[in-house]
Symmetry: C2
Subunit: 427 residues, 2 copies
Amino acid sequence: MTALRATTPQELAETMRGLGARARAAAQVLKQASSERKNAALRAAAQALRDETKAILAANARDVEAVRARGATEAFVDRLALNAARIAGTARGLDDVAAFPDPVGHVMAEWTRPNGLVIQRVRVPLGVIGVIYESRPNVTADAGGLCLKAGNAAILRGGSESFHTARAIGACLTKGLREADLPEDAIQLVPTTDREAVGHMLKMIDFIDIIVPRGGKSLIARVQQESRIPVIAHLDGNCHVYVDGKADLAMARKVVMNAKMRRVSVCGAAETLLVDRAAAPTHLTPVVKDLLDAGCEVRGDEATRAVDARVKPASEDDYYTEFLEPIIAAKIVDGVGAAIAHVEKYGSHHTDAIVTEDKAAAERFLNEVDSAIVLVNASTQFADGAEFGMGAEIGISTGRLHARGPVGAEQLTSMKYVVRGTGQVRP
Amino acid sequence: MTALRATTPQELAETMRGLGARARAAAQVLKQASSERKNAALRAAAQALRDETKAILAANARDVEAVRARGATEAFVDRLALNAARIAGTARGLDDVAAFPDPVGHVMAEWTRPNGLVIQRVRVPLGVIGVIYESRPNVTADAGGLCLKAGNAAILRGGSESFHTARAIGACLTKGLREADLPEDAIQLVPTTDREAVGHMLKMIDFIDIIVPRGGKSLIARVQQESRIPVIAHLDGNCHVYVDGKADLAMARKVVMNAKMRRVSVCGAAETLLVDRAAAPTHLTPVVKDLLDAGCEVRGDEATRAVDARVKPASEDDYYTEFLEPIIAAKIVDGVGAAIAHVEKYGSHHTDAIVTEDKAAAERFLNEVDSAIVLVNASTQFADGAEFGMGAEIGISTGRLHARGPVGAEQLTSMKYVVRGTGQVRP
């Protein structure tokens, strides 16, 4: 089947049901697969990526050529285009996932009841995971590998612009599964670029247990709107750094600069700077000048604009915006309470930080800011599964159910209760 | 507003949105409420139930009279009718929830990264919980109390037949909240019996974070079909007891009898008995005769029917059925592998048990049976939050996401990551 083959709606429905049924069957095998076998598949897939670098680059060139011909932006092409180093990095990612402990079978808790029953809460695989993502070729390997690690079957639907690249990478994953004697259907790619395929995935409640969308706002909004299957969604990261009146100035400068400018396009990048009015006379000017000197556009309220002529006026909308660019909104607030109120009103409950030497202010911020990740005296750019020591991640969940924060292999599991008795009956 | 007041669809929509907005506002207060204050509200509500017993009984009499006039079955009336002892039991339930540790703020895990960042995973409330249940008056107090304990606002929609009873109990919960100086909107009852109200609840994605249906199959099926909000569902409990070839006979008799007959109407009651062919000559007859002598109807395959003339033939459907009556399906299987295959094919992934002295068979059953609760040498009737030491429960989840098994206060929470640094920035 190729990307371009026209199918009738009926053919598509059958194709999708077939994918689903095969994924469900593979999941039954995978949930009992040993760590050794899963890790062998991951390592063999990594090796296949290295061995097939030439073929992957050829497939990628085909995709890049097609989007260039349709006039894609250079930023888009840059996300799509692979080179040998990127492929090596993706292979290394699979090796890293293999090296990480297996979440399946982990005893999360164990206790003994007065009647002698020993109860364990044990991690088990979730089942079948549907991943819907944009044209980022590495996600095929990253997501497929994480799902496999956690004993789940995966149905992957990448952006149509990366169709040939994803197929070439998918072939390496299949090879890894085959070499480890695991079902090849454990990681399947949707074999068509038909946009209706996503609609089918979102309704396959018998075959898919959870949907993980990874991409921009419009993709995630569509998935959340249409899905009949629970969604682990990563919404936008409108992250804040609040410089408290009791902040150490050198630390504040370092943390703000890193939070905004280390990489501006990641979801943990800071988008709004809040400065305590008490710290404004001492801290505001150096922090803002650092940003401006580093090439960051600062959009501020009146007090911030007074600091430097380069500061532009901020609109109300700016405080709601995830720029993902070298732009930051800035505002003076009256202490930690006002900072918390601002974050709660404008933020996206992703990742927010306070810089302060005041323990009480720090604890209040950590407690009252209702975000997946809250930090004191550290950069928001630490919002990352690997930085948390959780291994690779499929995204940062801003939802409150099942998984919140970094979603790694552990978050792609369910659990069960295992009870061992000696003949106990209930009175 | 009363049960009987006709409302236009527009009025209903406004009423429901008002409920939702007030619940969201209350949740903002509740999530910061201290354990002391929440527990004070629970205890004051318990006291109010005791103080208002007469008023509750009067309201209940009104409901009972109405359903009797419409010709309800005695079983239905029995579930609906209260007496002073039942009300005292419900009050005691609220006191028990108050006495249980607060899940909110609990540090689930803490670790330090090589760069010195200290990361904690901390429990936080979920937000607003919508509970939809049938005409079981105690659920109003049980569900409202558990949601409150976990720092959540609750919107409760009970069966229309218990409308007046639920209102009387709801008034006691409100009194408890008021006395503890917590927002009265923390626990709200849908103020109408209009069935469309449920449809509204299931679509209020801005105001309700999770829906918990508690009731029969048709209610849960409707909720799962219609809901735009994630659902923690308790599906049917088609529970199995498998008597292995290496089972101790006395233990097998005791466990099977308890699993089936202690209470036949609970979700953890056994519905199918599987006996290893190797144990049939010794174990089948006594186990089956025990059940028959206790008044249980046994529907068996040929081998089981040979044991006793009272055994009736089992249909294929019987093995899929949650009887919730003194009826059990029975079958001879060829060892633990066949038992597991039967449970996986016919079961509902709720609670299943093996009786055996063979450690390898036990471990295989515990590992391969994919149910929320798996037991060895213990009755399936232990499927209960309190029996697990988890305190009161709102149900047993057979879903795989967020919560699986008993759903108590802890399962009605989310979490966040709290990160403490000393100025770390990401390289």
